[in-house]
Amino acid sequence: MPLIRAENITKNYRVGDMEVPALKGVSFEIGEGAFAAFVGPSGSGKSTLLNLLGCLDHPTSGTLTVNGTDIATLSRSAAASFRGEHLGFIFQDFNLVPVLSVYENIEYPLLMVRGWSPEKRRERVLKVIDAVGMNEQAHKRPDQISGGQKQRVAVARALVGEPKLVLADEPTANLDHDTAYRILGLMKTMRDNFGTSFIFSTHDPKIMGEAELTFTLEDGRLVQEGGAA
């Protein structure tokens, strides 16, 4: 069974009195352990699709299952639980909590969302923090580390809860070229080490070449699916 199955997904937004379609009947499947990218120009529907996969929004019509759960009908609270249990997020602007240290930012999902015991938390956080190479910065605050390091912390935070799927919206957009490649390399390594699927969006042709599977979107439609472009 695929990790993600999308069947004829549509999403309309209401702008004033008008219905504006953002996705127009998108269907695809993604298996476990994928390293996939949604690519396309700005306004093509990449972020909308990622939001739907992340249970942050509901499709207007169509069926969307992630890890066997129909996420299109989840309530607000159930969606939050699903995100906490099965998904990880990486954001373009890193979105670390500024008052928490690197260690605490990574620990947050286990402490405040999953409610793991201190021993279990510590063991898992140390494992992930080691995997992303942030041991020496563990006690620093986000404003004391570089952009690349912040994104490493964000990757660690996304992975710490052992999710099935990590969604990354333009994860390299705010990083220089070398750092962007290092982050993508890290994400791949994490996929290999932890078996977590990664889906990211990008409009950078060089970055999209790093994906093993690409879905090209144009004007809300899936126009191409396949290996690296």
């Binding site: 942050l56 609270s77 639980s81 699903f82 995100r83 997020f89 999902p109 969302v113």
Partner: protein, 414 residues
């Protein structure tokens, strides 16, 4: 819970200046309220103590209708010996009654042989009066303060009359009285002491021995006009009132109606209105504290939510339940209220301690009042609870807003 509070504390420290200013505002509000309550409490206690312990007693028993005509000191509304006996039995049986004094009250003409003036006289048993109103003796500013309060043949007169009539301790005077049957009787007295007024020099109450009063009035039975009652503690006032009302209710007149009436000190003294005003002012200051906490905490929390919209979106996206998000912001408001209130309470204790070491004395009429403010634990606890509850209420709307925020919109916020 601990982790939520820890996160809340970190977030408060994120905006140190704003947090400090808000906590300072709450602290000042709490300080103002507690200092006022402590100082007003001391003033009230001193004044009430002065009035009850040197004149009224805590409670008074009269014959039904007497207090309505008390300005005229009527002689036909006396408590008869039979009723007095029952009243005494009820008072002796009550465990919270410390002492009582039977009084014969009468109006008289005071003469220094050249001039006359009117005087209100209290005929009292010196020992009983001493026990019922122990501070009366302290009002004697000239005369013997160590012997019996008032010996037979002696009269204690108020300052006002002593000055007006140019009479000093040891002078002979004449008291002339018209009794209940209309006949006039007079008797020579020696001025035994001069009394300060309780709330200024306006008092016209003098004291003579109860036997002298009965002789002046030619009473053939041991009737009294008033029974002044002193309690062991003012806190038991309403309990004693209830018990005495029940006991005195059994004393009936010929028509079968209650023959006596019981009054609290507050029913008999105009100072009770000042006490009510102080209580009203306390209420207003309490309302001001609520407004200060409400506005300042709500303002800070609304700002916090507005400034952290993307952070809220992030926390929601990574699976934080709406209830947990709400708890984070509620905790921030609560902590702010607790810290501000705790600082205000600590400062209040420090200032109250200082005021007790360096008492402030001020004049109220002719009374020299020494402020000895006391912070009652109930009051302090009440203020803390008030600040915490109002802080929680003030944080409720911003916290609810944070919890209900759409994660996508929040993540897009710039």
């Amino acid at each position: 819970m601990t982790s939520t509070l820890k996160l809340a504390a970190r977030n408060l420290l994120r905006y140190r200046r704003r947090t400090l200013l808000t906590a300072l505002l709450i602290m000042l509000g709490v300080l103002a309220l507690l200092l006022f309550v402590a100082a007003a409490g001391s003033f009230k206690q001193t004044m009430v103590g002065s009035i009850t312990d040197s004149m009224l007693g805590h409670l008074q028993v009269h014959r039904k209708g007497y207090t309505q005509s008390i300005d005229n000191l009527p002689l036909n509304l006396n408590l008869q010996p039979n009723a007095v006996g029952k009243i005494e039995l009820a008072l002796k049986a009550d465990p919270d009654v410390a002492a009582y004094s039977l009084r014969v009250k009468l109006g008289a003409m005071f003469s220094n042989f050249t001039e006359n003036t009117s005087i209100r006289l209290n005929g009292v048993d010196p020992a009983a009066e001493d026990a019922a109103v122990p501070a009366l003796r302290q009002r004697i500013n000239d005369g013997d303060k160590t012997g019996p309060l008032v010996a037979p043949g002696k009269v204690l007169i108020p300052t006002l009359i002593a000055r007006g009539m140019k009479v000093n301790v040891g002078d002979n005077v004449v008291l002339v009285v018209t009794n209940a049957s209309g006949s006039v009787n007079g008797k020579n007295f020696v001025v035994g002491g001069i009394l300060d007024g309780v709330t200024g020099p306006g008092g016209r109450d003098g004291y003579i021995h109860i036997d002298d009063a009965r002789e002046l009035l030619r009473m053939d039975k041991p009737e009294v006009m008033e029974v002044a009652v002193c309690l062991k503690s003012l806190k038991s006032l309403s309990a004693v009132q209830q018990r005495l009302n029940a006991a005195l209710g059994e004393i009936r007149n010929k028509e079968g109606k209650p023959a006596t009436e019981l009054h609290l000190w507050s029913d008999l003294s105009p100072f009770a209105n000042i006490v009510k005003m102080i209580d009203l002012m306390t209420l207003f200051i309490r309302i001001m504290l609520i407004a200060i906490v409400l506005v300042s905490v709500m303002n800070v929390m609304l700002m916090a939510v507005y400034e952290r919209i993307r952070e809220i979106g992030t926390l929601a996206a990574i699976g934080t339940q709406p209830g947990k998000l709400m708890a984070i912001f509620l905790s921030e408001g609560l902590l702010l209220g607790i810290v501000g209130a705790a600082a205000g309470i600590a400062l209040s204790y420090a200032l109250v301690g200082y005021l007790n070491l360096n008492p402030v004395v001020f004049a109220f009429g002719r009374e020299q009042i020494t402020l000895r403010p006391v912070l009652e634990l109930v009051e302090v606890g009440g203020v803390l609870i008030l600040a915490v509850v109002v802080s929680a209420l003030a944080s409720l709307q911003p916290a609810w807003r944070a919890a209900r925020m759409d994660p996508i919109q929040a993540l897009r916020h710039v």
